[in-house]
């Protein structure tokens, strides 16, 4: 009994069985390249759904200004505590409150999407971008300029509901 158990737990056996698996996979991949699962990443890229929840986008109103009202619900809801907002009073009394700075420390962000869920005015969304590598020491604190007006967004993403419409509907 004891001997049998020792053979079973002997590590070489499992090593060989693992190598057998790897070897057959290699043969499979060599003769059938199309069914290969892995990608040659920098050259080949996987195409995700357009609804992929990647880098954040701050939406804008029809006039191009930020939709965000600086209610801080996203910052409150953020489990990584990576959102920092500074609010101020807007000159336009129909806007009243707006963010003078909105920063996301993207290295702390866990892409959970809670900010998007917490937002009562559709001001923050998770965009489809997922490749955000950068060099050492570059700025990983995304500010309003990047989040709302980066070149990839082509002038900003419009939010679905404006305050003006909301007021005209009487809600």
């Amino acid at each position: 009994m004891k001997v049998n158990r020792n053979i079973k737990t002997y590590f070489l056996l499992s090593t060989f069985s693992g190598m057998k698996f790897t070897f057959f996979k290699m043969l499979k991949n060599l003769f059938n390249k199309k069914k290969m699962i892995t990608l040659n990443y920098p050259e080949e890229k996987y195409k995700y759904s357009s609804r992929f929840k990647g880098t954040h986008v701050l939406t804008v109103k029809k006039d191009g200004s930020l939709r965000c009202t600086a209610c801080m619900l996203c910052a409150t809801n953020c489990p990584a505590q990576c959102i920092k907002i500074t609010a101020d009073e807007h000159k336009d009394s129909s806007v009243e409150k707006y963010p003078i700075s909105y920063e996301i420390d993207i290295l702390r962000c866990v892409y959970c999407g809670f900010c998007e869920e917490a937002c009562p005015v559709d001001a923050i969304r998770m965009g489809p971008e997922w490749q955000t590598p950068d060099k050492n020491g570059s700025k990983f604190n995304y500010d309003i300029r990047y989040l709302a007006y980066r070149p990839q967004l082509k002038g900003g993403v419009e939010s679905s509901l404006d305050d003006k419409e909301r007021h005209s509907w009487g809600i």
Binding site: T69, A87, E89, D105, P120, G137, F140, N141, R166, I171
Partner: protein, 533 residues
Amino acid sequence: MSGKNEDLISCSVNGKTISVPKNTSAIKAFKIAEQDIAHYCYHPGLSVAGCCRLCMIEIEGNPRTQIACNTMVTEGMKINNQSKQIKEDVQWGLDFHLLNHPLDCPICDQAGECGLQDQYMKFGQYKPDMNQKKVKKAKVVSLGEKIVLDSERCILCSRCVRFTDEVSKTHELGIFNRGDKSEVGTFNGKELNNDYALNTVDICPVGALTSKDFRFKQRVWYLKKAEAICTGCSTGCSIYLDYNEEGFFRVRPKPNEDNNSYWMCDEGRDLYQHLNKEKRLVKVYPSKKVSTSNFAVSSSSSSSSSSSSSSSKKAIKYLKSELENIKDSTKIGVLVTGQYSVEDYKEFFSVLKEKNSINQIYHWFDQKNSKNDFDDLLIRGDKNPNTKGLLEVAKDMSLKVIDSSELKNTASNLEILIVLGPEYKKFFSTIDEKLEYFKQALQVFYFSSVKLDSLDSISNVTQIPLQSLVERGGTYINYKGLKQKLSILPQVIPKILSFSQIAKVLNGEKIQLEPLFLKTQPVKDNQFSFQKN
């Protein structure tokens, strides 16, 4: 009321039998019985208006539901608010309140401590049946220097109107128009600028009245509250200090039946500014007469805040050595204001008495003429929170209290003048006069938590930073002898000494400094960089 049974009557609230004093309203009975009851317009410090119609109760033997705030409890009364009908009444009452209330919660400063939010979570029906358009009213109306009004958010509880009528008696506010067009506003040309105006912001159950000072600074759920005492005058109102890691943000009155009931003055609400870093004395400013070898501080290498403890330690050690050199106690002057706690005085005076056998102190008190002024509500002429405490301590230690105007004759004889300076310079009118005395003395050691810029120009003054009043804690005795204790809050500026630590250093003992709780510097940009090995 003590033990006299004839003053108490018994009643039953939601099946719980309690005894309450006579002439108690039913809503107070609910509070005493610790039962939940919805209400807006009722405020314990104001008269009864009965306009929100939310505090509905059922009285046994009475077919109709009634409002609790305007019903007096009688002997053997059985009241409850648990029945289905009451619940529906409250739900519909709330729905009517919300009928014209805008969806402003994201930008409303009251969110998080809003009566409407809280009540709806507890008593609301969660299924709005209203689909009419909301009535639009004026937003962001300035009601003077301190307050902003948002008429849309107002639910017309009339608490603010009653406050200006009954408490401040200034009668600025009123409710205008009728029906769903009713609005709170000020009478023609008047502004809501009385000395107690900001109390209306506190009692407003919604975000209709907001303070210009606090507006949009912080969301309230980020703030912690601490109990403290306002040190703006000798009334010593109980207050809540709201703070978080970024500093102190506002002051609110804490209900205290013995002293300030539910209110405080607007002047006292600036208290938080003196606790934040911007107005504080953060490091030692040595006098220009002292040779730098004795007392190496504020050179370019040690100007950072981390060295402030060592430099203030050094400064106090220097003071100690100077004090030891002086044998004649009349050459040492101690000038104190009534702004420190009893414990502070005791610790400081006992060391000086032991080491240098001082037997007199100069009392810096500038409101001699207005000392007994009182505005019949809270504000008193004596702008020191602890004048009484100072005099008591001096009496206990048999120190002679001399008025500071005596310094005119004696200042030039003094070798060392130790000053426990004012914490709020705006309350001290004769600061320039005192500066003249400072110039006459040989050396001045000025202790304060607040920076006084005019001292920088005087060459013989050494300024030593102190912990602020909430960092020191201690007992304050107000005008009528009420002893109030301050709890100790975290430090804003690193490694600044308290009085007990100063006393220890003067005694030649070693001290331990506590680490800092608050953030001292703003969060920097991301400094992340990956390095191999």
